[in-house]
Each structure stands twice: as structure tokens, then as C-alpha cells.
């Protein structure tokens, strides 16, 4: 659906992105991850045809972004960092304007506007002035604006920035609903967001891609297949820790004070045996937690490695 080849962009002397290569297939939900200033927004702006690359090629649904910008733009719904809304328009009126602007067939305008209002939960504010809405609602109007032409591709640039926790949860819920209907690219520097919504992750740092994989693939790759298991027991913590060290599949067991930390080979049987052992010792098992290496760790590892190199 989207093919990016050797994409570079520099602002004067500063290189924002350097020869990016990636593809996004139809129907995928891709998280675009990176610290501030990594080049996420720049890449998205180029894909939407808002700005031109310094070099490289972008193809959307087979159309080159430079040769056929109109065809590309017709297929993309874009929510920039700042929602592009007119303060002096009513919500419904604005969405109708956007639908007309995007060249939606006249007969479909009304149903699409209603659909976008309903999906984003804006039906109650339909006749209110956008300038009078709260930030969270403006953000939703921004999302409705991206949705209203029913585009094949949705590009959302930090959709949850500046929202309160409840609104963030609602926004994620909404993004999950959009899965399957659109190809989705989502940029963020907030990790749980990616874990909550995305199937594939592209991590970008200082203008280059440092990782591109599925969520599970990424954590498997980074942890070398291993797992961390933590246990909490009421009695005999020291003895249990020593005993667990001998269980098959456990590489290392340490008594970390409040809990016992195990490094295992990542197999389900190992976890089963660890649990069985703790119960056998009648040490009063309180808690057993299996942790695969989190996205956060991967992220920090990847982006800080890059910084040292």
C-alpha cells in the first residue's frame, strides 16, 4: 500500500531523515515510534504530500507522490500534530466542508459526515462552534476530519498528545475500532500506545530506522528468547530462591529483597515447574509474574545504542 524508498529530507544543513526504507501492507496497523525530533512528523508529512522529500521515492497505492499528488491525497486521511480545524465553523459544517474538499461524491457526503460524527462520538456537539470546544474535542474533530472521506489510509500524527487520561483511553478505543477498515500509520513517542494499538512497529531514531518488526518479533529478538519471572513468597524466601536455581530451565535465581527474580529460557514448562516448586515448599506463594522484555526496554536499548555509535 505504501512503499518508501531511500527517503531523505534535510532542512538546510540539518538532516531530518536519511534514506528511510519501509513498506506498509494493506490493512496493517503500524506504529511509528521515536524520541522527539527523530523525524516521525517529517516522514508523515512527506507521505501525505504536504512537503517534498530532498531525495527518494514514495508510492501510495501505486501512485508516485510527486507525479500524482492528487490521486495520493484522495486516498489519505491525515491528522497532523495540531488538528487543522477552523475555529469559526460548526462541527457538522466543518466536516461537510472537508468532505466536499476531498471530492467525496455528493450523494455520500451526508452519510459519511454522520458516520464520522458517530465514530468519534461527536453527535452531541454537531451544532457547536469548534472554537468553543475543549482540546480533547478539537482533537476528535481533527480525527473525524481525517475519517470523513473514508480514506484507504489513515495517518495520525501523535493522536493522543495533550489529552487527559480518560480521553487517551477513548482515543485508543477509537483507533482499535478503526483497525481492519483502514491501513493505519500512527506516530507517537508514548510506548503503551503502540502496545495497545499496533501490530507492527517501526522505530526511528535520528532520522534512520533502527528496527522494523512485529511487536512479538521485536521482543523475542531483543530478549534472545528468554523471560524474566518474579515471585513473591511469604516464608523462607532465601531457601526458595536457592531451590529455584536448581529447577530445569532456570538460568539464574536471585533474592532481590522484596521478591525473587528468575531468568529462564522462556518455555512455558519452566514457568509451570517454578510454580509447582514454590507450592511444594509450602512457602506461601503470593504472586508469580512472567515478563517478556517490554517495548520500553527495547526502545531505550535501540535508541541509546544508536546515540553511542
Amino acid at each position: 500500500m505504501i512503499e518508501v524508498q531511500n527517503l531523505s529530507k534535510s532542512y538546510g544543513d540539518r538532516q531530518a531523515i536519511q534514506s528511510l526504507n519501509f513498506t506498509v501492507k494493506k490493512g496493517e496497523v503500524v506504529g511509528f515510534l521515536g524520541p522527539n525530533g527523530a523525524g516521525k512528523s517529517t516522514t508523515m508529512k512527506i507521505i501525505t504530500g504536504y512537503m517534498a522529500p530532498s531525495s527518494g521515492q514514495v508510492k501510495v497505492a501505486g501512485f508516485d507522490i510527486f507525479e500524482d499528488p492528487i490521486e495520493v491525497k484522495r486516498r489519505i486521511g491525515y491528522l497532523p500534530e495540531t488538528p487543522p480545524v477552523y475555529q469559526d465553523m460548526l462541527v457538522g459544517e466543518f466536516l461537510k466542508f472537508v468532505a466536499d474538499l476531498k471530492g467525496v461524491e455528493k450523494s455520500r457526503v451526508k452519510s459519511l459526515v454522520d458516520g464520522a460524527l458517530q465514530k468519534t462520538g461527536l453527535e452531541n456537539v454537531r451544532t457547536r462552534l469548534i472554537g468553543n470546544l475543549s482540546k480533547g474535542f478539537k482533537q476528535r474533530v481533527g480525527l473525524a476530519q481525517a475519517l470523513v472521506s473514508d480514506p484507504e489510509i489513515l495517518i495520525l500524527d501523535e493522536p493522543t498528545v495533550g489529552l487527559d487520561p480518560k480521553q487517551v483511553a477513548e482515543m485508543r478505543q477509537l483507533i482499535r475500532q478503526l483497525k481492519g477498515q483502514h491501513t493505519l500509520i500512527l506516530s507517537t513517542h508514548i510506548l503503551p500506545e503502540v502496545q495497545a494499538s499496533c501490530e507492527k512497529v517501526i522505530i526511528i531514531n535520528r532520522g534512520s530506522i533502527v528496527a522494523e518488526d512485529s511487536l512479538e518479533g521485536l521482543s523475542r529478538r531483543m530478549s534472545g528468547g528468554g523471560q524474566m519471572v518474579t515471585l513473591k513468597v511469604r516464608r523462607n524466601q532465601d531457601a526458595v530462591a536457592r531451590g529455584l536455581g536448581a529447577v530445569k530451565g532456570v538460568h539464574k535465581a536471585t533474592n532481590a529483597g522484596n521478591f525473587i527474580e528468575l531468568e529462564t529460557d522462556g518455555k512455558d514448562e519452566t514457568v509451570e515447574q517454578v510454580a509447582a516448586f514454590a507450592v511444594q515448599q509450602s512457602s506461601g506463594l503470593m504472586e508469580l509474574k512472567v515478563q517478556s522484555i517490554g517495548l520500553e526496554d527495547i526502545f531505550i536499548k535501540l535508541t541509546s545504542n544508536e546515540a553511542q555509535a
Binding site: 491525497k73 469559526d88 465553523m89 472537508v98 474538499l101
Partner: protein, 255 residues
């Protein structure tokens, strides 16, 4: 075509709904009402004095009243049009709604034309208000309408030129203040471009300067003669600035 109408419609509506438009229209009306009334009464006084047999040939309402009205409209428009057009593109950039326009399936030409038509429409409403004065005079005085219509065609064209200049200035910057100042200076430059023509001895150069004189072309319309070269002058002036705007909008794609 639909994209142009959508864009122009939105901007025109936004302009006509803004309090600023009402303030401007109100103040213009105040000024016109005062001076038009005064001119008309003075003209009536004078024509009564000249009413003796054999003297009526000297009086002409077109020159006596309308000419002043039209030049006052023009003077006001030099300042008012930049105020109406200043926000058209500069504010879109500032409020980031420009992102929406640039990522929509519309061309830079459609954006430039849409903006131009919106501005022209808004100033058209003001022109229409100013047209009421001579129109209502028809109730009390009999005059030939032809020259008046020609003069108003001139007003429509000259305001179109100001609008084109205004959106060009607006496209150059994010700052609304800068946009209005630039548009004002451009407008005044258009009037002063032919100032030096008197001192030029080269006949060719002097003819070129005369052709570039906006005042001369405008005067033709006011005096009731629609000349092809004057029509061409205004239409090319408008086209030039709309084209320049289109280039500036387009440039954001490769800059």
C-alpha cells in the same frame, strides 16, 4: 470547479460572518453617506443657480457627483481590501489549517482561485452597498445609466486587482500584520508606478509608462468608455497576481 466553489464558499462565509466585516462596512457607509449627501446637495444648489436658459449644458451629475463618489470608494478600497484579504492565507498558515488544504486532493491553482473569489465576493458586497447611493439618486434625478455602469465595472475590476494583490501578500507570510502592510504598499505602488512618466523624453518609454498607469485606465471607465486595452490591463493584472499566489502555494510542495 467544485473544489474552488467549496473553498471560496467557506472563506466568503467566514469573511461575511466576521465582526470585522460589519465594522468595515459600517464605517464605509458612514463616510459615503456623509460625503455623498453633501456632494449631491451642493450639486443641486449649483444646478439651481445655472438653471437659467442656455446654461444647463455645463452641468453633469456623472462628473459632479458620481466621479467623487467613485474616487472615494477607490481610496477606501486601497485600505479596506488588504484588511479583508489579510487573513485569507496567512491565518490558514498560522492556525495550521493550511495543512488540511495542502493534503487535500486539490491543486495550488484551485486554492489560489478559491481564495481570490472569496475576497472578490466580499468586496463585491461592499461595492453593492456603495452602488445603492447613485441608484437611489435615480428616484430624484434623471440621468443616463450607461456611464454609471461603466464606472462600476471599473470599480469591480480595480477591487479585483486589489484582492489579487492582497492574497498574494497574504500567501507570502504567516504574519497577518505583515500581510496587510505588504498589500497596502503594493496597492499604493500600483498607483505610483506611472508617476515619473512626465519627465521621460523617450516617446516609447513614456507610452509604456502611460499604459501601466492604473489611474489612466480607471479614469476611462469612470468617464464611461470601456476600452479594450483598459479591460485587458485589469484582467492581466488580476491574472498576474493570482498566478504569483499559485506559485507561492505550489512552492510549499518542493521547498
Amino acid at each position: 470547479m467544485r473544489a474552488i466553489c467549496t473553498l471560496a464558499g467557506r472563506d466568503l462565509k467566514s469573511l461575511l460572518k466576521s465582526p470585522m466585516f460589519y465594522v468595515i462596512a459600517g464605517l464605509c457607509t458612514l463616510l459615503w453617506s456623509y460625503s455623498y449627501m453633501r456632494n449631491l446637495l451642493e450639486f443641486a444648489d449649483q444646478s439651481r443657480m445655472y438653471m437659467q436658459p442656455g446654461m444647463e449644458a455645463g452641468m453633469n451629475i456623472q462628473r459632479g457627483v458620481f466621479l467623487q463618489h467613485i474616487s472615494q470608494i477607490n481610496l477606501l478600497f486601497i485600505f479596506v481590501v488588504p484588511a479583508l484579504t489579510m487573513r485569507l492565507i496567512a491565518e490558514e498558515k498560522k492556525m495550521r489549517t493550511y495543512d488540511l488544504l495542502l493534503t487535500s486532493p486539490i491543486s495550488a491553482t484551485q486554492i489560489a482561485l478559491g481564495k481570490f473569489l472569496a475576497g472578490w465576493g466580499a468586496i463585491g458586497v461592499l461595492t453593492l452597498i456603495s452602488f445603492l447611493y447613485p441608484l437611489l439618486t435615480r428616484l430624484v434625478a434623471d440621468y443616463s445609466v450607461g456611464p454609471l455602469l461603466s464606472a462600476y465595472l471599473g470599480v469591480v475590476l480595480v477591487s479585483g486587482a486589489y484582492v489579487a494583490v492582497g492574497i498574494f501578500a497574504s500567501s507570502l507570510t504567516e504574519s497577518i500584520v505583515l500581510s496587510v502592510v505588504m498589500a497596502l504598499i503594493f496597492n499604493i505602488m500600483l498607483w505610483f508606478i506611472s508617476q515619473g512618466s512626465g519627465g521621460i523624453s523617450n516617446p516609447l518609454l513614456s507610452a509604456v509608462m502611460e499604459y501601466l498607469s492604473m489611474g489612466q485606465h480607471f479614469l476611462n471607465f469612470i468617464l464611461g468608455s470601456i476600452k479594450l486595452k483598459s479591460l485587458t490591463f485589469f484582467i492581466s493584472l488580476i491574472a498576474l497576481f493570482v498566478f504569483l499566489t499559485q506559485r507561492v502555494v505550489e512552492s510549499s510542495r518542493w521547498r
